[in-house]
């Protein structure tokens, strides 16, 4: 009589397995979600910090006295674990009408058009005329990446004028 409904030592514990399994699934799902969130945010911070590092070196004291000075600072950047393009532009100061960041033109010296103020660790890019951000990364390619961009005001001595312009730093993995 006492053994009525008894289906074995494991069988008796079967109902308790349901909350146990549910708990384990919930815990490991949350754990995976948390781990992915940590990982994603750490990547974002690494990108942000790398952009700040590149921009801090290129800004120097916010005064670039020549193209050679810009290139010298560019050489000081060294290795960073992201792809980046940093360039100067007068588009904002001139209030040029641009629809996207990718249409912003790279500044070329008034004294010599060949002296383009950009700095990158990309091995391949288009030598367009004029050069824009899309010469380095197109809008289509950028949609697959998580781009980080920063803008800083800066002055550049060119053709005996101290010109206000902006330093654009764009980076991605």
């Amino acid at each position: 009589m006492l053994n009525k409904g008894f289906i074995g030592p494991i069988g008796d514990d079967l109902p308790s397995l349901i909350p146990l399994l549910f708990g384990l699934v919930m815990f490991f799902s949350t754990f995976t979600l948390t781990f992915n969130a940590f990982d994603q945010r750490n990547v974002e911070f690494d990108n942000d910090i790398a952009v700040m590092r590149v921009s801090r070196i290129l800004q120097s004291n916010s005064y670039l006295y020549s193209y050679d000075n810009f290139q010298e600072l560019c050489d000081n950047i060294g290795v960073v674990n992201i792809k980046y393009i940093a360039f100067l532009s007068t588009d904002a100061v001139r209030r040029s009408d641009r629809d996207t960041l990718f249409e912003i033109e790279v500044f070329a010296s008034e004294e010599d058009d060949d002296l383009m103020f950009f700095c990158t660790n990309l091995k391949e890019y288009e030598n367009d005329d004029p050069m824009t951000l899309s010469s380095f990364i197109t809008l289509e390619n950028a949609q697959d990446e998580r781009l980080v961009s920063r803008i800083f005001p800066i002055v550049v001595e060119d053709n005996k004028k101290v010109k206000p312009m902006h330093l654009f730093v764009v980076a991605w993995r």
């Binding site: 109902p15 909350p19 754990f31 979600l33 969130a37 921009s55 916010s62 005001p153 002055v155 010109k163």
Partner: protein
Amino acid sequence: MNKKGQASVTDALYFLLIVTFLSVFLFGFANSYGSVIREQLNDEYNTTFATNALKTILYSSTPRNPDKTIFDDDAEIDYLLALVKEDYSDDLQVNETEMNVLGKSISAILAPVEDTLDYMFYIHIPGDEQKIVYLLVHVTNFQRDDADVPAREFYVYSADPTNPHLNYFCGLNDDFKSFEGPDYKTLMAKMTKLRANIGPTSEASSAIKLVKERNDSTFDSFKAEANLILWDAVWLGQTSERTQGLFYNVEAPPFDTIDIDPAWGCQDVSFS
């Protein structure tokens, strides 16, 4: 022995309860992870931007004629600060032309952030003399729309698409002379109140030297201070919680005339 099955279910429910607490804690932690670092990175960027912008304003060259740009070949170019110093030295006032030249340069340098941030740039003489030399205020031209939430007063403030920004030269009397003495003190108190109520600001400040011409054509130099303050664009008039406006004396747009607090001594200006 008969209650063995019930005990294991109770144990499992306790286990589920503990796991639920742990999961909620982990989920909350994952959501808030990095928010402090993100805030610090943004603060660092905003501070660097403000400092760079101020340096750029102070170092830049500019055409002496406000109708020209620095990129025009026939423009007569001078250092921006030298132009202001030269103009200020003779009558201890910055004239309207030089105000426009300086304002246009500031507006161009801060153009990338003008849609999201409001700002003021000012040069003043602190200490005994207490005088405003130059004050430019750039604010977003807000319009107010009813959000149509039933039984609730809920409004949406957005920039007027036809004229999104407004610029003012402030700290000026009716005859375009700079504020000094009591007017200066009142204006500085208004600026302090504005800064305390607009949320986080990014500020940069730099000591500069101005000169004044003596009767014998020699020059006396004295210290002044250039400041740049940027903040997230917000409505600066009255609200239901704020009975006194920070800049405007009106409750909300639309209005026929923009009623700026007279203590600011503002005159509107356009750089386009």
